[in-house]
Subunit: 152 residues, 2 copies
């Protein structure tokens, strides 16, 4: 059951106002990232006005949701590496030091799935690689370096 809890719902209050993923930011995207087997999953539906060219999703939005998906994924992967339980143990917080996005194809203005994998977990640093899927195609890839903050 705990596997269905979104990591962002476990962030402490100072981190809960993020425009991308804060549950207390009423006008933000409020993305939710959950463990999904060995990977992480974020699902997001762009609004009709989130356009680049009409019918494609704005690249800045893609970078934004990859960013928050990556910080959330880093927290999930770090907790797993430490044997912590998502939903009961405190969630660590990560910030983005470096973000890269490769735009491979136009992303249709349609439901998006972000799949995250950790390629490095070391001390306070986690690297998360992300595939952005629409239907059966990967239209963008992300890579982010996340750094743990706060006391622990």
């Amino acid at each position: 059951m705990t596997e269905s809890i979104a990591i962002q719902d476990m962030y402490d209050e100072p981190a809960a106002h993020c425009y991308g993923c804060g549950r207390l930011n009423d006008v933000g995207y409020q993305i939710k990232t959950r463990p999904d087997g060995e990977t992480t999953l974020t699902e997001f539906v762009p609004e009709p006005f989130h356009t680049a060219y009409i019918d494609s999703t704005y690249g800045g939005l893609i970078a934004s949701i990859i960013d928050c998906h990556s910080t959330g994924s880093a927290a999930i992967f770090a907790m797993r590496a430490e044997g912590s339980t998502i939903g009961s143990d405190p969630a660590p917080r990560f910030v983005t030091a470096h973000l890269e996005v490769d735009y491979l194809l136009p992303t249709p203005l349609a439901p998006i799935r972000l799949v995250g994998r950790a390629t490095e977990i070391k001390d306070r640093k986690v690297i998360v690689e992300t595939e952005l899927w629409v239907d059966d195609r990967v239209t963008a890839r992300g890579s982010a370096v996340l750094v743990r903050i706060g006391s622990e």
Copy 2:
């Protein structure tokens, strides 16, 4: 006088609906990028809700405005390289193939200046490096690979 015209106001209609820089997207950011000597300049004021932690600007927004600033800057640099005049000649359109952002410091929730430089202009490809300034500090750096689209 033509130097004060924003490149985004010269985009043809299909490109004018972008959430980041389209003049016809009523709910978007509508950023404006102008030539500024040898560089390009975009000024942007985040809204109070564009937060990461409270008092800092959301990293996804930073990536977004660097993205659109970079496509606009690529058009400006390409036009200059070709001897075209911004404001009277048609503006070429570029899309982002690759975007990188280094988050160097927390960016205060305050007016932002993006300064762009071209480091490569070759055939249909332009590389734009961006500094993000708040007051007298660079808090983030961007690098983008832009590819020209459309007929010319």
